[in-house]
Subunit: 705 residues, 2 copies
């Protein structure tokens, strides 16, 4: 119980419209349930059987994932790009769902396990007294309404459809953390204003637009008589909130592979990552708003304000908590010599990141949001303090977790279409939802882009706007939010509709991204590396560019971060003794790491003959962002960045080196150590220091083993 | 439910001595439980509260682990070796246990969550009817006998003491897999006969010796009147089985760090790894034996034979399953070009290894045993097919998982001493158990060593025997087996005693290993590398040695493996076209990978001037075993293996290179790229191929980022 971290479906029990007094009938469902023959040995056998069944169910998912991986490989191998791996995972999930639903019949013995006992409340823990022994039961969730008697028929499907809180507590955190940890911070910060506008204002606009349109549709349906249950205005708003979260997975993998314009990439990625956080907090604020107008479900200014307060409180609390643990990790890794033991360091990093989630949940904030900001902080500060091996390890670990969780969610989505047992497909509602989602996205992108273009130097072109409109896929977060609560008719209809929206956007919009890009004549194959290396030669002009392009709050933040926070939290940046006023001398000295003084030397002597050494040092300590796409493919980058470009400093050139290197490594591996002849070993340029290309001789051997 | 894989405590419900008819009293525990005020909103609030509590509990463990990591670092940093990290984790666990037990009082509101409802059986799933809604509850386990009424007092402790099946299903598999995956196969196979003897015969001997001694003690206690409940002969045997499993963690970490004699290391490691598997299957066979003599609990030849049959069946089934999935993974990685995408490859590797566990559990075999053999197979075959990056990734991943799981278990052990609520500390039983464990270990080591020395060329010296006797620590597996079932008086007494045995052996024997070694004058600091490099120069004499030292079944296996299995399953070894008879030509051609033909070239031209190239190739494709100790510290290995030693071939020299390299890397990192001057770059020895020490210039840069 302490381990699986179920929320016990907190949202559900509250919506019972009437409260009956004690209802102490005990129903024994199943054929043998009411006979004395059901002794404890049989119970044990059944428990074992149930465990086996669980193993088999999980095995289905593992097999699905394995199959997906093999097919992904085949697709990548054959350079087939129209169907992304997530779409593929969904298709496999669908197939397995069909098989489970129509192909396999549950043996009747399974139904013996069920025993129904009626009480007046559903606490999280239930103690059952069996012949003087007490057994503890934990609440798993609500079974679909009114189906108590038929429940044995679909036992297996119900088992495959597991606890939705698993998504929130186990599968989403690594995905969101990875998104934060692998954020390309340079382009992100260059567009921070626009990204925040799209993510916050855009999502709220989209939520209300969709909510209002859906309210219109629902009212119409009520008039026509197509509505089978209650559907309040808050439900409409809730629907708007959950389908407003765009997914950072599918399109961006394609964008990354095709090397689409970096600003467009940053806008879409930044928006969709922050989006998720906004949608979670927004939807939970709307749910919190509901009980206030419990019976009326109408609009109330006071409750609205309260909701807004909750939104702000939860968001800022989660933000602060995530940043706080990130900063703490940075401190710990800076002031201990933990970097001598990469395993310990990686374990610490992992545990601290995980504790963010738990801490936030324990404090009543949103764990997923906290984890996002923790990831960004870890990437910005802690990453610089880690040993190179830990840097590799952490990014690979979270890449793997992200990959597994993501494909699991998408294949589960496919499965759910058939295994979920309370689908409500209402054609009118579905049509309305598609229209609303389309209009909501349009109301987010076009007006905001217009406003933003008034202030931006490099305008967001109309073709960019169309692509952003088109690329608003709905994915894991939308699904997780909608499956969280499927107790009422309204929620069931929302869930079924959401599932269709996700399928449609992932398959159609995801698959159509490439034709869309060429139709919009957006340049593909833009080498962000090229941009870097040309500017890097100009010694920091890029950095200055970044500053000039941004608004003044960002400039202030940038300077503060560079002069105080980075030196305080990491080994890089100028020493605090140089940036802090003289009165803080002793404190500054004790907080500055020895490396920082060397960095100071670098900053002054950028054009001396130390440049090669500086280059390699800065590419070692640079604040590099991890970025491979979720599928693990390295983008093809045949152009090697020249040695001169390594002075470019602390943004994401490091990545490009890595990609280039990985590329070379593949070539070497493929041809079995026949070295590329167009790549001669350069002679050393200084006497005391060998050039970066020829490293200490013992180092490379490690990586061959 | 499908995800957390609980076994629903299969063993427990069967032992109810009497079966009362319907007992339909519904007890509402708690102050507000029977009032109408307990409406659904309150239930929701409580569920949320419970979720927060869960998060906080898990947070305690995370904090414990973080603290442990930091202290481990401090110990390593200060070279303090008397207390191993596992012992440390236990101490922290103990402290937190004391605080939870005596420091914190549970708020009374928590007890509201509990509701007691009495029925005649305890099925795995319970449906509760609340005002027409059905909620599903899953069986969590039995609460301590007769404590139903006081249960609200120790709610928090009960929550911290989570489901023991978590150990078996989540924490043990990665530990055991890592043990198999990181097995030093060369020394392991050289001593395979002795290891099997100690692991199988030794464990069985120890089990029966301990069982008999305990039966004597228990009978004596019964006479004296010190026994508070039933304790049958099968219980004694079960106790013997669970405390016979020695732990591969603590001592071996010390041995690895100190570079104790490799054969002693191999004997202890091999024994303790296989030990675990034997103990699991043995104990479950004894449990399976029990119901047959349900009431008598006496010795029956027929039931004994049946138990033995179950033992053999389960063990061989698990073995076959583990090997089968390992072989399948090898096939998949060999015949696809998955190695171009390390992420996919790593994910596949992880999923296949995990599916072994699930498959075995679904088939009714023992997942942990299957995972062990899967790990060995993966290391022996699949590892050769992986890309270098995946080799790094997989070993780092499992190293991390192993580290986290291990420290979690040990800190949990410490916690349990105070948080577990049904301890039965019986002084007589505890004394008896310590005597029995000591004698059981002696009856395992000394007679078997005597018998083995009759057939062995390099005898197991008496000082080695004493160390093996002393180093028989009990750890994670013993704990997991004993906490699995704590329903009866006998099991509770066993659990408490086992806990004390684990504490004693880990702290006293673990801490005393170093003095013991010097007292027994066992050489410390033996460089297995030295042995390798000297023999490697003799071109395969080491391999021949290995063969000569072993018995004929191993020689046959070795040749079969080298000529057929390795070429079939991996890219290394001679091509199948050369080893298979001519009639199988077409099949052999289609199963042989292109690399194998190159290997054939190598095998003939070992002394040509290609030797440097071959060296680097073979160190790239060698069947290297992963081996860092569980703590992540690299052993200090200042001696660099010379370039000439790399021809040594497919055992574990690769590892030693790696260690040496890691050592250098640390030096480089620490001194900020000031290269060690005693390590000049060697000039190329051939014109077409640069020497292995100076790799393609782009490669090293990747690892600095």
């Amino acid at each position: 119980m302490g381990f699986t971290l179920r929320r016990f479906l907190g949202g559900k029990p509250s919506k019972a419209p009437l409260l009956l007094p004690f209802l102490l009938t005990l129903l024994l469902v199943g054929s043998r349930g009411d006979s004395n023959a059901m002794d404890n040995v049989a119970t044990e056998r059944m428990a074992e059987e149930s465990h086996r069944q669980d193993s088999a169910n999980l095995l289905i998912f593992i097999m699905l994932l394995t199959l997906t991986i093999l097919t992904i490989w085949l697709f990548k191998h054959r350079r087939f790009r129209f169907l992304h791996e997530t779409g593929l995972a969904m298709i496999y999930g669908l197939l397995v769902g069909v098989i489970l639903r129509f192909g396999i019949h549950v043996p009747q013995s399974m139904s013996d396990v069920i025993l129904s006992c009626a009480v007046n409340a559903s606490p999280a823990t239930l103690l059952v007294n069996v012949s003087g022994r007490f057994y503890e039961y934990t609440l798993k969730g609500e079974v679909s309404r009114g189906k108590g008697h038929q429940v044995q028929d679909d036992e297996m499907l119900r088992k495959v459809t597991f606890d939705p809180e698993v998504f929130f507590n186990i599968l989403l955190p690594p995905i969101i953390f990875h998104a934060g940890y692998s954020l390309k911070r340079r382009h992100f910060f260059r567009n921070i204003g626009s990204i925040l506008a799209y993510a916050f204002m855009g999502t709220v606009i989209s939520c209300f637009v969709i909510g209002l349109i859906m309210y219109g549709f629902v009212s119409f349906m009520k008039v026509v008589g197509q509505l089978g249950g209650d559907f309040y205005f808050t439900d409409c708003l809730f629907f708007g909130a959950i389908v407003s979260a765009t997914d950072p997975v599918t399109v961006l993998a394609i964008f990354n592979e095709l090397k689409v314009d970096v600003d467009l990439y940053a806008l879409l990625f930044g928006e969709s990552v922050l989006n998720d956080a906004v949608a979670i907090v927004l939807s939970s604020s709307i749910v919190a708003y509901q009980p206030a107008g419990d019976n009326s479900h109408s609009f109330e200014a006071m409750a609205m304000l309260k909701s807004f307060g909750i939104f702000l409180g939860v968001f800022s609390g989660s933000f602060a908590l995530g940043v706080a643990t990130g900063v703490m990790t940075a401190f710990v890794t800076k002031f201990t010599k933990l970097r001598d033991f990469p395993l310990l360091e990686t374990a610490l990093f992992f545990l601290m990141s995980w504790s963010t989630f738990l801490l936030a949940e324990a404090c009543g904030f949103t764990g997923v949001v906290a984890v996002l900001f923790c990831g960004i902080t870890q990437a910005h500060y802690t990453y610089n303090n880690l040993s190179p091996e830990s840097q590799d390890r952490t990014k690979q670990l979270f890449e793997l977790l992200n990959f597994l969780a993501e494909n699991f969610i998408f294949s589960y989505m496919g499965l759910t279409l058939f295994s979920f047992q309370s689908h409500v497909f209402n054609p009118l509602f579905i049509i309305g939802a598609f229209v609303a989602v389309f209009l909501g996205r349009a109301a987010n992108i076009y007006p905001l882009s217009f406003l933003l273009n008034l202030g931006r130097k490099n305008k967001i072109g109309s073709n960019f706007q169309h692509v952003m409109m088109f690329a608003g896929l709905r994915g894991a977060m939308t699904f997780a939010l909608s499956i969280r609560d499927t107790a009422t008719y309204a929620r069931q209809m929302m869930f079924s509709t959401t599932l269709l929206i996700v399928f449609f956007t992932v398959w159609i919009c995801g698959g159509g991204t490439m034709p869309m890009l060429s139709f919009m004549s957006i340049p593909v194959g833009v080498d962000s590396d090229q941009e870097n290396s040309s500017s890097a030669v100009l010694d920091g002009s890029q950095r200055r560019n970044t500053k000039h392009e941004s608004a003044w709050p960002f400039r202030i933040w940038y300077n503060f971060d560079r002069n105080y926070l980075k030196p305080l939290l990491t080994h890089s940046g100028p020493p605090l003794t140089a940036t802090l006023p003289a009165c803080c001398g002793p404190l500054a000295r004790c907080l500055t790491s020895p490396q920082a003084y060397e960095n100071e030397g670098q900053l002054h002597d950028d054009d001396s003959d130390f440049i090669l050494n500086d280059a390699s040092v800065s590419s070692m300590y640079a604040d590099v962002t991890v970025s491979t796409d979720a599928s693990g493919s390295r983008t093809v980058n045949p152009k090697r960045s020249s040695a001169a470009s390594t002075g470019g400093g602390p943004f994401d050139e490091g990545l490009d080196h890595e990609l280039a290197t990985a590329e070379h490594e593949v070539a070497i591996r493929g041809t079995r150590l026949v070295l590329p002849m167009d790549d001669p070993v350069e002679p050393p340029t200084t006497v005391t220091l060998p050039p970066p290309p020829s490293p200490p001789r013992s180092e490379p051997r490690r990586h061959r083993l």
